[in-house]
Amino acid sequence: MGRQILIDPVTRLEGHAKITLHLDDEGAVEAAHFHVTQLRGFEKFCEGRRFFEMPYLMSRICGICPVSHLIASAKTCDAILAVSIPETAANLRRVMNLAQIIQSHALSFFYLSSPDLLLGMEADPGERNLFGVAAAHPALAHDGVGLRQFGQQIIESLGGRRIHPGWVVPGGVAEPLTAERRDRILAGIPEALSRVQRTLDWFKRTIESFREEIRTFANFPSMFLGLVGPNGELETYDGKLRLRGETGNLIHDQLDPQRYAEFIGEVSEPWTYMKFPYYKPAGSEHGFYRVGPLARLNIVSRCGTTRADQELAEFREMGRGAVLSSFHYHYARLIEILHGIERIEELLADPKILSKDVRAVAEPNRREGIGVAEAPRGTLIHHYKIDDEGLITWANLIIATGHNNMAMNRGILQAARHYVSGDQISEGMLNRVEAVIRTFDPCLSCSTHAVGQMPMLVQVVARDGTLVRELRRN
């Protein structure tokens, strides 16, 4: 008799989701679904609002990556104004976006995933958390807390607050950077670099012990999508889209993000609120790709900063052509933190960063705008239309976590087939299935705008609906 295993909700994610594993008559996993079960629908309720309110409204989608929404939304508004914003404004936005990536990656790596990596997938769930990490390896926890604070302090220095800053506005930014604030940020750079380098060294020593997870955690061929700079370097604020295949082959380069609708389609499934974007020319069945840190490091020609490029060379030894295991999202996150710190130092070293010319002012000149940036979790697309009064008539968002939806579903199926079998369902098995999802660091608040966290419930349900087994985590 076929049965169903339910992991509900999945813990240590941003938002609320559950996993169901469908077993066949022999107890083997035959299907796996990652369900996102709540919907808030920002695209709908912003209709009728003034377009220039959008950056601040959209930043409320998420408390983890508000800056990414703020920036993608402001870029959409720049397109509606049809202005080219001052160079200093673009670079200040760039610094804030990098700071956002640093703090979000630190949250993902240290707070959410390091318990699995440091204490083990089989560790007591009561201790498999950041407190457990702090007790077992205080230096690592110290570095994690310090790196997150570094990113947040930059956001606060620029925007006045660390969550939902309103400083990025259509046409640029609201206020220039003062020398005092710049110097305060620069003063924190040497320590931040030491913290991430120590963590990278530790992670690279540890990686050997996760050989099985590397082999089975969403390790399959796919395409990879993200923004790159004009010379193919890592670029998270602006740039053009690049798509590479599983062998590292270039499928598209320097694609104008304004044309996203020509090559990205979306399909829906009845069992989840999160849509499934796909690469149109390959069709919805075969057109799946990954975005985010792993994808970015797979598509770029170089990071563009000294230390990060050295690390990138080592990272690339993990694969042939492209690094395919999603386990290496963790590794890629650390390299992106390193790149972010180095790049922020470069940007702040330019005296023009203190220029007072930080905003272009205009009335709306277009009825439609598209803004694309790289959020911590991947490519973020905002697209709005307005009426004669400048009121929003239509909005579409494609969020990083959404792009990864197909890959996440295939990933849990791969891991569940490897680790889960029949009646012998252990905590460690199920934690590995969850840990696959955590490699992607999905933000369900962003992709559907669900809020909240609850203890985890695992159910084994027979096909006739009777509960065969239940495992509850508090």
Binding site: Y111, F131, A141, G452, Q453
Partner: protein, 164 residues
């Protein structure tokens, strides 16, 4: 003179969640030497930074923990962990409870840390406290003020005994 930080945490636009902020404002109305009053969202990382360099910190938050709205709980959080059940449901998984416990593990707590939790009734979006909370605020302000005086008196007694 002990350096004391009074940190009110909450969200002004989530009704009773604003209680911590209003208590902080109430304390600020009567300036005390050596006391700095802060208002914060309750993000754990920021809290960990805020009490750096303080001899003592008093944190005030609102929560829903099954008691009557307006009930005040006091925890000597420097000595023992807060009850986790008071702080479930933080959207971003790193709030007061998490910040405090990580700081404890990393030995980053101030010498004295007192947490006041006032029970709220309504945490929905909107401005204005429920009637029960509105009525409870002056008593919480008074309790925090007493706490400040006790800490300062204790510090001054300690200083005297050290000089003898």
């Amino acid at each position: 003179m002990a350096k004391i930080f009074v940190i009110g945490i909450g969200n002004e636009y989530a009704r009773d969640d604003a209680a911590g902020l209003l208590v902080a404002r109430g304390v600020k109305k009567q300036p005390h030497e050596g006391v700095e009053v802060l208002e914060q969202s309750g993000e754990g990382g920021k809290l960990m930074e805020s009490w750096k360099g303080a001899d003592a910190a008093i944190v005030i938050d609102a929560a829903r923990c099954g008691g009557a709205p307006g009930t005040l709980h006091r925890f000597d959080a420097g000595r023992e962990p807060l009850p986790a059940e008071f702080f479930r449901g933080s959207t971003h998984a790193f709030g007061l409870y998490e910040g405090l416990e990580v700081a404890r593990s990393l030995d980053q707590l101030p010498r004295r840390l007192i947490v006041y939790v006032v029970e709220g009734r309504d945490f929905a979006a909107g401005i204005g406290l429920s009637a029960e909370l509105e009525g409870a605020i002056p008593a919480v302000v008074a309790a925090v003020t007493r706490e400040i005086c006790e800490i300062q008196d204790g510090a001054s007694l300690e200083a005297q005994s050290n000089t003898r």
